[in-house]
């Protein structure tokens, strides 16, 4: 890589991560290595002979006058087999390999290649391809079994198309071996390998955009049933510290019906990534039965790592996500937290002396955010398949105030909003997703899926439950003004019903081995069961049964526990319990009906 043709220059000024360099001929966005340690960085502006570079590593003890080298290409990632199951830093350095090589702390100037060059992969060429056929960028050249779950499709790089001259036969290959040749329109011949590179700040091409058609099933009741997210959609999870953003994202990473999960720890805790690294290999993908790590990839720029690499980390993540999308997969990318990314932007812009507009953020915050989220979507790939990137970003508003710049700009961009509340978290109502502040713009599309695959009553039941929660809020206000005596029996039964929905459906423990995942069937059955019990009770109250008697029915305590008593495969037991529960109500009904018929 360090060929003599690279541009050479020197350092002029060091201001923390922002370094002024003199490097004639360098381009904006070009990668540079600075100082005797060879720290990596990227040029962010040019002025005359001088350029400003942001450095991904600490510049401590670097001096003016030290050498600088331009690498001739922008920040790019390696895309090929060996990504899945790995953990990379914000500029795609392989952290596992760095640990083995360099020990506990991340040394400066070290940059092992992201993908393992020694590993051999068994390549099977695509059957429909023959030499001399025209071939387009993004076409599938062949396949490699990357993990037991993921079949990696080797693509013609986005910037190459023409005529296929040669395609390697089935066999074992290293990453650097040629597996095919393409002659482009200019007559130039390109040797294709199992991997290629792509600049992270440029979205990868696709044929066309498509609408989302089916919900991402996360196994989390409040998400799937109340605030659904479509595959290929954009979503934000804002909330104050400790409200549960990371747990929500971990839960989605665990249980979503996605093919590939990319988890970007952007300026958050080191231990949260260790949690994933430790627990995922032991957990089974509920759809394939394979270890979850077999479809997961981690990008880690923890809060104590250099802030400039944090800014890069989400682009590294989204580029890898697009790459698997282009192979025809449904990819979910989680970014925890986009606020830390925005703060990295703010820090750099502050050092550059740019004019801050709100809370120190630069004027381009909103457009950068929008451009980033725009890389989510469901598309027709160049290879005429369907692939999607679903983007879920955590937002960490200072003081939990949703009117701050990052939250408010994000809210205008996304389709689904899972708002976490401190009040719910403090009461240990988890997930602490506020059903009043949250929204999904895709309920009607999701409804089609639910009606077709689960139950025709889905949308009705969902609305009924939300309606009861709204009544509950209203009635609680009255109680807080004048006391519970002011309510009628029917109204008090609404409070009871809402409490059942909250405890029996909305609350879902990520830590309980049964409750942590709810299949769509189980989700609907629980909701329907609780609403049926409520309806049955409401009938009884009309007959004159005191609300007290209903509230004390022992079946209600059981009902609250159903979620953790029956797992997603035990729908038969859940049905049996339903019969039992409704029978209890029928009995009271017939008792009261008889009494009613007897003459006084």
């Amino acid at each position: 890589m360090n060929t003599t043709s690279n541009k050479k220059g020197k350092i002029k000024d060091i201001n923390g991560p922002i370094v002024t360099i003199e490097l004639p001929g360098v381009q904006n966005g070009e990668q540079v290595r600075i100082g005797s340690l060879g720290l990596y960085g990227e040029v962010i502006s040019l002025e005359g002979n001088e350029a400003l570079a942001q450095i991904y590593e600490s510049t401590e003890m670097v001096r003016p006058g030290e050498p600088v080298e331009g690498l001739g290409h922008p920040l790019s990632v390696e895309l090929g087999p060996g990504l899945i199951g790995g953990i990379f830093d914000g500029v795609q350095r392989p952290l596992e390999a760095m640990f083995l090589k360099a020990g506990d702390q991340i040394p400066r100037g070290l940059s092992p290649l992201p993908l393992d060059r020694d590993k051999v992969w068994h390549f099977v060429p695509s059957e429909n391809l023959e030499p001399n056929m025209p071939i387009i960028n993004g076409a599938v050249l062949g396949r490699v079994q990357e993990t037991e779950t993921v079949e990696h499709r080797i693509l013609v790089p986005p910037n190459i198309s023409g005529q296929l001259i040669e395609l390697a036969p089935e066999g074992d290959y290293h990453l650097e071996e040629s597996i095919g040749q393409v002659r482009d329109q200019q007559g130039e011949i390109h040797h294709l390998k199992l991997y290629h590179r792509w600049p992270v700040r440029r979205p990868r091409p696709y044929q066309s955009r498509d609408n989302g058609v089916e919900p991402l099933i996360t196994g989390q009741r409040i998400l799937d049933t109340f605030f659904p997210l479509l595959k290929g959609s954009k979503c934000a999870v804002p909330g104050p510290f400790g409200a549960g953003k990371t747990v929500v994202q971990h839960q989605v990473a665990r249980w979503a019906n996605a093919d590939i999960v990319i988890y970007v720890g952007c300026g958050e805790r080191g231990n949260e990534l260790v949690d994933v690294l430790d627990s995922f290999p032991k957990l089974k993908d509920p759809y394939t039965g394979r270890p979850l790590m077999d479809r997961t990839l981690l990008i880690a720029n923890t809060s104590n790592m250099p802030v400039v690499a944090r800014e890069a980390s989400i682009y590294v993540g989204i580029t890898i996500a697009e790459y698997y999308r282009d192979q025809g997969y449904d990819v979910v990318m989680l970014a925890d937290s986009t606020s830390r990314w925005a703060e990295a932007l703010r820090e750099v812009s502050g050092r550059l002396g740019q004019m801050p507009v709100e809370e120190g953020y630069p004027a381009y915050l909103a457009s950068r955010l929008a451009a980033f989220y725009e890389r989510a979507g469901r598309v027709d790939t160049m290879d005429s398949g369907k692939g999607s990137v679903t983007l879920i970003g955590a937002v960490s508003p200072p003081g939990g105030d949703f009117s701050e710049p990052v939250t408010s700009h994000t809210k205008e961009i996304i389709q689904t909003f899972w708002a976490l509340s401190k009040e719910l978290a403090d009461a240990r109502h988890y997930p602490a997703i506020d059903w009043v502040d949250s929204f999904s713009a895709d309920v009607s599309t999701a409804a089609e899926w639910w009606h077709e695959n689960i139950d025709r009553e889905w949308e009705k039941r969902r609305s009924q439950a939300l309606g009861m929660l709204a009544r509950d809020a209203e009635l609680s206000r009255i109680v807080n003004l004048v006391g519970p005596e002011a309510l009628s029996s029917a109204q008090r039964w609404v409070l009871e019903g809402a409490a059942l929905i909250k405890e029996g459906v909305l609350q879902q423990s990520a830590l309980d081995p049964v409750d942590t995942f709810s299949s769509p069937e189980k989700q609907f059955m629980l909701l329907d069961l609780i609403l049926s019990v409520y309806d049955a009770g409401a009938d009884l109250i009309e007959l004159g049964v005191p609300v007290q008697e209903l509230s004390e029915m022992s079946v209600l305590a059981r009902l609250r526990r159903c979620k953790e008593l029956y797992d997603s495969n035990q729908t038969d037991q859940l049905k049996a319990f339903r019969e039992e529960a409704l029978n209890d109500f029928k009995e009271i009904h017939s008792e009261y009906a008889q009494r009613g018929e007897q003459p006084a």
């Binding site: 003890m61 003016p64 702390q105 703060e343 703010r346 502050g350 005596e485």
Partner: protein, 459 residues
């Protein structure tokens, strides 16, 4: 170390000194500044170009005159000398002794701004530490390697609580190889003395390293002090295999010092005048706690901070909460009722509790009991609120039970004396005493087996 001194200072403003016409000086270099009286001040290069350098002067620039200020660049980052001799010693924010004993002599010197731990090198903290305090052990358990701050406010007994934790903290099995690193920033003499006496009377003094910066010491030293302390802690934990408990007080003074310097530098403020990088800066400190693969020691961090105007949304507690693995929040209301320790459990949280408690660690019912107490107390506080509006007499019998629970919880579970060291078994049994004032069907967070085993009506 270069012997050459420069007399080319071109400006002095706030704590910052600019020096022109110097050769290429390293960013982050340590600096000695000799003033006209011949006294030496310490500094660090915070910006370096081929024309001039900007130096942050730890003792401030007051009374410096540009003519007779001599600057010498040491060509080394801010470092600390390390050896087992640091135990039992007291240092200032620059690592110099403040106990009238000679400096540490050692060939081992480390830069205090360590590179970040590789996440792939960490192991997940899981070992329950018993502090003997029910609100912590039972409801917000601390584990070895965790960073769990105490959010307090002026006049609340955070120091007494921190001292009680230091005194009582133990692992159920072993507590050998245990050390304490104590970092005090901007504290009063009374507070410093309190801790010193505490350590002496509990016999840990020989196992404690203290880094102390008093309220009347230079604020800029507060910036290097926690890094000194953590570099020492890392040495004890990962070179000497010790389990280190680091107590830092008061992080609010640290952040204020950072703001002061940032303002002098002209950094763009984010909220309340604090620089936008306060989050990253605090994270550099807090993330140095943890456990590392194949290392026997650990760093458990208990920072103490006071919330300005009791406001938990103030940037200092807010950003801390976003970085640490939970928080223990003290309440003025409980304190005014004479309850010690005045831990308000609702906003308190321990995120690492889930893997350190339960069957193999504390007791199988622990996770559910904790959940159940939280749920009941949340409901009880609502009821108390309602009672204050409509009067307790208007409450239903069911609601009155919650009201009684809130009182019992605060006076029996939360309250304990300063020398009361409750075992986790005692804490959980106490919890069941309180849970048993409810009929089993009202307890939906504990399971039926646990009810059968521990509920007083069942046994």
């Amino acid at each position: 170390m270069s012997a050459k001194e420069y007399r080319t200072a071109s400006s002095a403003r706030g704590g910052l000194l600019t020096v022109a016409n110097v050769p290429n000086i390293a960013f982050g270099d340590r600096v000695h500044i000799r003033d006209q009286q011949g006294n030496t001040r310490n500094g660090q290069v915070i910006r370096s170009s081929d024309e001039e350098v900007l130096i942050q002067v730890f003792e401030g620039t007051s009374e410096l005159d540009l003519e007779s200020t001599w600057v010498r660049f040491l060509d080394e980052p801010v470092e600390i000398a390390l050896s087992p001799e640091i135990l039992g010693r007291i240092f200032n924010g620059l690592g110099e002794p403040r106990d009238y004993r000679p400096p540490i002599v050692s060939s081992l010197r480390r830069s205090i701004s360590a590179a970040a731990f590789n996440p792939a090198a960490r192991t997940y903290p899981k070992e329950f530490i018993q502090t003997g305090i029910s609100t912590i052990d039972g409801l917000n358990s601390l584990v070895r390697g965790q960073k769990l701050p105490i959010f307090s406010a002026s006049g609340l007994p955070h120091n007494r609580l921190a001292a009680q934790i230091v005194r009582q903290a133990k692992l159920p099995d072993d507590d050998s190889r245990f050390s304490v690193v104590f970092a005090a920033m901007g504290v009063s003499y009374a507070d410093a003395r309190f801790f010193q006496e505490e350590f002496a009377s509990s016999g840990v003094l020989g196992n404690v390293v203290m880094f102390v910066n008093m309220a009347d010491d230079p604020p800029v030293e507060r910036l290097t002090l926690p890094r000194m302390a953590l570099t020492a802690a890392e040495y004890l934990a990962f070179d000497l295999d010790r389990h280190v408990l680091v107590v830092m007080t008061d992080m609010t003074h640290y952040a204020e010092a950072l703001r002061e310097v940032a303002t002098a530098k002209g950094d763009v403020p984010a909220r309340k005048g604090y620089p936008g990088y306060l989050y990253s800066d605090l994270a550099e400190i807090y993330e140095r706690s943890g456990r590392i693969k194949d290392r026997h020691g650990s760093i458990t961090l208990v920072p103490v901070l006071s919330m300005p105007s009791d406001d938990i949304t103030h940037p200092i507690p807010d950003l801390t909460g976003y970085i640490t693995e939970g928080q223990i929040v003290l309440s003025r209301e409980l304190h005014n009722q004479g309850i010690y320790p005045p831990v308000h459990i609702s906003p308190s949280l321990s995120r690492l509790m889930k893997d350190g408690i339960g069957k193999d660690f504390t007791r199988e019912d622990h996770p559910h009991v904790s959940n159940q107490l939280y749920a009941l107390y949340a409901r009880a506080l609502e009821t108390r609120n309602l009672a204050s509006i409509i009067g307790a007499d208007e409450l239903s019998t069911r609601d009155r039970r919650y009201l009684e629970f809130a009182d019992a919880f605060e006076s029996r579970f939360v309250r304990q004396s300063e020398d009361e060291d409750r075992s986790i078994e005692e804490t959980l049994n106490l919890a069941w005493d309180l849970l048993s004032t409810f009929p089993p069907q009202a307890l939906t967070r504990v399971n039926e087996t646990e009810i059968a085993k521990y509920h007083r009506q069942s046994v």
